[in-house]
Symmetry: C2
């Protein structure tokens, strides 16, 4: 056995102490408290300072907690706690009082670490500017994709490259539901019920299944990847509630898997005068991906962010997107960085604003589309449909017809199921095409219109 000397850093010799205030002791907050209390020596060795948890602000001191925490640490006076801290960790969630407390912390020159994606998506630009102006560090790795280190790779590791596109599975609830539908053939409602039963969906799952949570994370990722500040309102957002078992089955048969993606991409176009211009679009919608795409292998409640950069090519970052301990890991990464900086000096990470690009609406985006149609099984139907695509300038890549002659299918006997994948098409042209197809008397219904990526 090769034996080497074990070097024990003499922690007791560390004189500096940093006062840490924790706001919130929920799922993530209680795990952060546990790490601060139990791993104090290791953290001191890593940072060169004792991280002293001076208090935990909660609404109700007597609420049951997942982790045993000494009672005397709890306080309901968050404001007093913030004023006495070197590092403030905000894990209360929601807009208020989180916003006011973060602003108080910035005013007092405290370093702030937050995992509050809702607040950052709504008010991020204001908070970043206040922090910059005060020369205070505001870190938020935990706000996007839980444990996955994604913000630091984007801002630091890829700082010498140019990101062209980011596609993320950033909501575990919807990925769990879509994965369950894909694996078991379940309908959306049944998969959602299962997700609730297993604790992957909240009692009110609206923010997840309507895509709002993914949109908030998409706005944060896009802001960093494209040095342009996005607000939630800039994100085109469509959830997964209308995705059916039939959509999933048809996608599967064609070699695709349906994922809810947050996509931020740089789009080159021309302005009104015909000059070349570029902008950034951020969108969240159910997307068909080839099953062999790296994002296609992201199962259950896991998250992953797929980045395309000019030089690096394709990168992917995968891990747990939620949960107390995983998210606490991301929070503590920020806390250790902040503490090292407070001990050793130095400017820390700053938001780069070298290239503020116009924010483009969904109409500026071209994608491939998958369209499912329930049509009459009559001669000439295909040519009528193909003609409408041509009239609207949308090019068809593949068109597949399955005729049902028995009564066991949705369209009934004599109906045909059509599945069309287009080449790149703009939203306006595609909408016009779908509207025109809907008006054909040989069409029973347009069963699905989904975007296709990753091919």
């Amino acid at each position: 056995m090769t034996q080497r000397n074990t070097v024990d850093t003499d922690v007791s010799a560390t004189t500096k102490t940093l006062k840490v205030a924790l706001l919130g002791a929920g799922n993530v907050g209680s795990q952060v408290a546990r790490i601060l209390l139990h791993d104090a020596d290791a953290l001191a060795a890593r940072t060169g300072a004792r991280l002293e948890l001076v208090g935990i602000a909660v609404r109700n001191i007597d609420s049951p907690r997942e982790v045993e925490i000494p009672k005397e640490l709890f306080t309901t006076d968050a404001s007093a706690l913030v004023r006495g801290a070197d590092i403030v960790i905000e894990l209360m969630g929601g807009l208020e009082p989180a916003r006011t407390l973060i602003l108080e912390a910035i005013d007092h020159g405290a370093t702030v670490v937050t995992g509050n994606k809702a607040l950052l998506a709504v008010d991020g630009p204001t908070l970043y500017e206040k922090a910059d102006a005060a020369g205070v560090q505001l870190s938020y790795e935990a706000a996007v994709a839980g444990a996955i280190p994604i913000l630091r790779p984007i801002t630091d590791s890829l700082a010498g490259d140019k990101i062209t596109r980011v596609m993320g599975i950033v909501n575990g609830t919807t990925n769990f539901i879509l994965d369950a539908m894909d694996t078991t053939g379940a309908q959306f409602a049944d998969a959602l019920a299962e997700a609730k039963r297993l604790g992957y969906a909240e009692a009110d799952p609206t923010a997840d299944i309507e895509g709002h949570d993914a949109a908030a994370k998409g706005a944060i990722i896009a802001s960093l990847a494209f040095h342009t500040r996005f607000a939630l309102a800039d994100v085109h957002c469509q959830g997964i509630t209308s995705v059916t078992a039939t959509d999933i089955a048809a996608a599967k048969e064609a070699g695709y898997v349906i994922k809810l993606l947050a996509i931020a991409e740089k789009i080159e176009s021309t302005d009104d005068a015909g000059a070349p211009t570029s902008g950034v679009s951020v969108r969240v919608h159910p997307t068909l991906l080839p099953r062999e795409h790296p994002l296609g292998a992201v199962r259950g409640a896991f998250n992953a962010v797929f980045v395309e950069a000019e030089n690096a090519g394709e990168l992917m970052f995968y891990g747990r997107g939620a949960g107390g301990a995983p998210t606490a890991s991301a929070v503590m990464g920020d806390v250790v960085s902040a503490a090292r900086r407070l001990v050793l000096g130095g400017p820390g990470r700053t938001d780069s604003t070298i290239e503020v690009l116009p924010v483009l609406p969904i109409q500026a985006v071209s994608t491939r589309y998958y369209i499912g149609l329930d049509a009459a099984d009559q001669p000439g139907v295909l040519s009528k449909i193909a003609a409408l695509f041509a009239e609207n300038g949308v090019s068809i890549e593949t068109m597949r017809q399955t005729v049902h002659r028995d009564g066991n299918v949705k369209g009934g006997p004599g109906s045909a199921e059509l599945r069309i994948v287009t080449h790149l098409a703009g939203e306006a042209a595609l909408s016009a095409t779908v509207e025109a197809i809907n008006g054909l008397d040989v069409i029973n219904s347009v069963t699905s219109v989904l975007r296709v990526e990753g091919v």
Copy 2:
């Protein structure tokens, strides 16, 4: 269309200039030169300094290059170039003169960025110590897994967590070969020939296929993940040359895929006196992984590093592990970080040495094993084999027998193919078992012995 103001940072107002010396203009070096020359304005905006490429040291000024570079930048006097630089980028590869030039750069107080994994694996500890002593930054993100940002996430993002295990596909050549064998059923030699034809394997592929390259990267990753300095000699290393099409087919049938993994893990054991102790082991060998494991989906020449941490759980980082532009992206990430630090001040990243653990040999590692046997189809064979496992204290998880009664298989008529997967077993016990089985007269041959991970 939402229009926002475009802010152009006034680059001309940036007064500071940093002199950058590039050593080597091969595949990666020429791409780094391209980025420094073509993206100078963007880099200035990101760092706050002009990055002036003052020269490129090469052996032969007239060699053909992949990128057009002004001739006057080339020099054969690397030493003079190093002495006049703020940032030295070493991309020559090999031990000398790279080592001497890096030491010269450190002596002159220049920040060093290198992608030289061979040098770091052999001499890393010396270089890190010299750099630390001189207060100089030595960065090497490009040395491991090409474009994939892995060192920064390990050292910074996971700084508040405890890594327990890292498993990496860190050699693109061997992953391409194994993936081709898995996909097409090809034999090793044919897959290697195809890899050479496509430029994924070098004319002399020894360093790749024997696992030496993966071992060097494993040593670097392990050093950072476990705050313990490993040299190449500490890594148990087995390549893929003995992996057969039969192994791959049998693995596939059982739901596994064979990957060459570099595995670094913390092992808890007891010392001679019975006290609990922990150490780290680093090993490289062909490994059976469940096909649904995230690393199982890493195809072709891509790389990925799978990290397990106490709080974060499972994380994976995926991307291109080689190639000029992808590796140049990683180099430039380090250069931009170094430049920001030189402009803004601050200590930069430092290696943490909070916990120097003993380096354990492969004998300290327990894994599951897959064993393939070609045996006589006689009554009592299974019980003889099972008895030998029991005698050596190796527990069998599954045992599967396929009897071949025709003459079209290796063992010939009357032979039986046995596939055994064990529970966790130590190397010594497993070796003794295999030796004993080999001595049985009913055994034609032991066709494979492979470790199983990820279950």
